[in-house]
Symmetry: C2
Subunit: 443 residues, 2 copies
């Protein structure tokens, strides 16, 4: 069958807006991954896909081809539901850190494979690595035993998982074919489906701090990912959430672990708690540990209040290389600087991406993949959308070790805030939910 397939014909068909067959998609991606097709043919196809799109009929086979380019984890011998969460990324989005132990504390296993931060968004791996001794590079055996015995493991992507995605992603980065909904959706879903999960909750961000700024593109991405999950026979819920302001009060790796500990002690900012509860309830519902979202919400709130989630998180830290007192020894920046309101007024709008860039400038993030990170650097916010500030009142505290970085970060931070005389309405945090077949949207 594939003997008669030719890369140029496949590129031509997509170029002209046609639909590729599953055989054509498999042929191209398999041959490309093993090096039998050159980068220049793949980049031509990627550009054609970028412009012409992929139909739902193509998206499933495309994702499956990427998924099967490497190892697919099989947790079939470990009882109980395995459910993960993925976020498209935002500023201050540390939700994975309180969420995974909370869900595991409720009896649903969470095999979570995360990424690093780039640009204005942070990465779960970087946050975890700010915990002294914490290792994200577990072997596949250690990953499996952690899931079997503790119900939670938080690791980075291994070389065995989705090599096609690694190769394609590097090529997309160099050929301006990143911001394509089908390519983003298949990249995310292939990695998540390789984790051996039964169900997946997607946190799809929109707004000024999100990768997809507008709701309609975020919705299209959510639909594409849910469709892929459905075609793979998985239960998937996508929750659309607002990233029109940073999530929580703390931005920066160790600072976000501190805020995580607040949440796991039954405190923490209302928005972080709300999103942890919402996404946790969805994971428990998809993992069939509860019959309704309200039951799920109550369970998550319980384990945040009674210390069970914190206990699981501590056990996870120790299991992954942290000392027992690691969470009491988080790195702290040597310097801080209070940013003050330049005038009186209400916080009317926040360019959240610029707040993320300000944190990056302090050392909390990377401008390029090779940049080092300062785990202690970041920003502690003192105001939210809708708050009223007097001139000179603190808006935030910048935390840093490199004094040379503070001035440009402060300027960038201040440029992000629009102050005005009228109070602006605060948008709801959770905008919409899109679910796959087999998930009760009303439960």
């Amino acid at each position: 069958m594939s003997g008669s397939l030719r890369a140029v014909d496949i590129i031509r068909r997509k170029r002209d807006g046609g639909t590729l067959s599953p055989e054509e998609i498999r042929f191209f991606l398999e041959r490309y991954t093993v090096g039998e097709l050159p980068d220049y043919q793949a980049s031509a196809l990627l550009m054609a896909v970028f412009v012409r799109g992929l139909s739902d009929d193509e998206l499933g086979p495309w994702t499956q081809a990427m998924l099967h380019s490497g190892v697919v984890v099989d947790f079939g011998d470990i009882p109980g539901a395995k459910v993960d969460k993925h976020s498209t990324g935002g500023v201050g989005d540390k939700i994975s850190l309180p969420l995974a132990p909370a869900v595991a504390a409720c009896g649903v296993r969470v095999p979570m494979i995360s990424g690093r931060g780039l640009g204005h968004t942070g990465g779960t791996l970087d946050k975890l690595e700010s915990i002294p001794g914490f290792r994200v590079d577990l072997s596949m055996d250690a990953f499996r035993s952690a899931i079997a015995e503790l119900g939670i493991a938080l690791i980075g992507q291994t070389a065995e998982i989705c090599p096609a995605d690694k190769k394609l992603y590097a090529l997309r980065d160099a050929t301006s074919t990143v911001e394509s909904i089908p390519l983003i959706a298949s990249s995310i879903m292939s990695k998540k489906l390789a984790e051996g999960i039964d169900a997946l909750v997607l946190d799809v961000k929109h707004g000024s701090g999100a990768f997809m700024k507008d709701l309609s593109r975020a919705t299209a991405l959510a639909r594409a990912m849910v469709a892929i999950g459905e075609s793979a026979g998985k239960r998937v819920s996508a929750v659309l959430t607002d990233m029109g302001q940073p999530l929580g009060e703390k931005i920066g790796n160790a600072l976000e672990v501190e805020e995580t500990l607040d949440v796991l002690r039954g405190a923490g900012p209302a928005d972080v708690v709300l999103l942890t509860v919402e996404l946790g309830a969805e994971m428990l519902l998809l993992g069939e540990a509860v019959r309704s979202r309200d039951e799920g919400r109550a369970r998550i709130r319980d384990v945040l209040q009674n210390g069970r989630a914190l206990e699981v998180f501590r056990a996870c830290v120790v299991r992954q290389g942290g000392r027992p007192d690691a969470l009491e020894r988080l790195p702290r920046a040597r310097h801080s600087h209070v940013v003050r309101a330049p005038r009186s007024g209400f916080v009317r709008a926040i360019d959240t991406e610029s707040v993320g860039v300000a944190a990056m400038l302090l050392g909390a993030g990377r401008a390029t993949k090779e940049d080092p990170i300062d785990p202690s650097a970041g920003i502690v916010l003192a105001c939210r959308l809708g708050d009223h500030l007097e001139a000179g009142q603190p808006m935030a505290t910048l935390c840093f070790n490199d004094v040379a970085r503070a001035a440009s970060a402060e300027a960038r931070f201040l440029s992000a805030y629009t102050l005005g005389d009228e109070r602006a309405a605060s948008p709801p945090l959770v905008t919409m939910r899109i679910v796959s077949k087999g998930v009760d949207s009303a439960a």
Copy 2:
């Protein structure tokens, strides 16, 4: 300036349908030609150009960047106008062979750099090389002295001319980005403008044997090429001509040289003579050797009738390595087979591309760039559109050395002809003329 340019930004702008600046175009094509940008970025840009197109404002700088990637011939020290003709290629299109010596015999110099055939269309170089001893690989010095002393030279593209085009063309072939009007137009025009000509006549084919089957796409290609020539300050005329049937009676390399000799002796098929006269008159007008096309037509007819054009052709053959009797020693195929009409009727339509493929199957052309050519193989036609045939009457004679090739070629040839009971109108050979500024369309 170019220090801040980045390939990914240029790809992104074209991907999103934007217009590239001359600096961006120059940056990308210069860096790509010298190997500083990888093939995979170039193929992504080519696919974006394929889908989004290039505006007239981009087409000029794009062509100039390709043109200046290599040597640009300067004939400034040789007096008189230098004018070339380029055809987009067809079946039986040997017009360059009688045309170039006819125009040179009228005092306009013709520095003609041609290509080889691929697929169903023949190439001028292959036809010339069927003349025993004829060499198309003259040095640049020999090319110049032939133009200065004889007024004509017929050579192949050298490595020094338009290296960017060679590199891009190979990449387009492998990435399904060939059939793009701006990419075709800039590829043709960059090579022609590198020849050091003052003016150029383009024969843009349309119909079943042409690369551009429909008139509207052929017209768009013609307009794009005329616009490029205009922006380079050259006089350019594009003549749109019908390729709804093969040109002349003979298809195949040595056979087309034979037909050329007929035309140069004042005979030959009417369509070949007509097109030689039309294109020749246009070249003389653009070369300012005549004041009107009618005067040009008369001059060309004269040199075809009085033997002056043949004399120039013979001198050219000898100068480029042929023996004085080379034209009397053209190769002839050992075998021939008469194809007969399967029924009575009028020739209502010809799939000219299939006739070209039939000749290729006999050995006259190449399926891939590496295939050898049989210079003596080909087809001698015995009927044209509109002719009436009796069942069993000869339609053509197939000429070949390899007996194993005849059956599939005959089947392919017969499949090309639609016979019917009513006579079909014969289309005009010359459809339209598009001229640049400085060319009088009414002259």
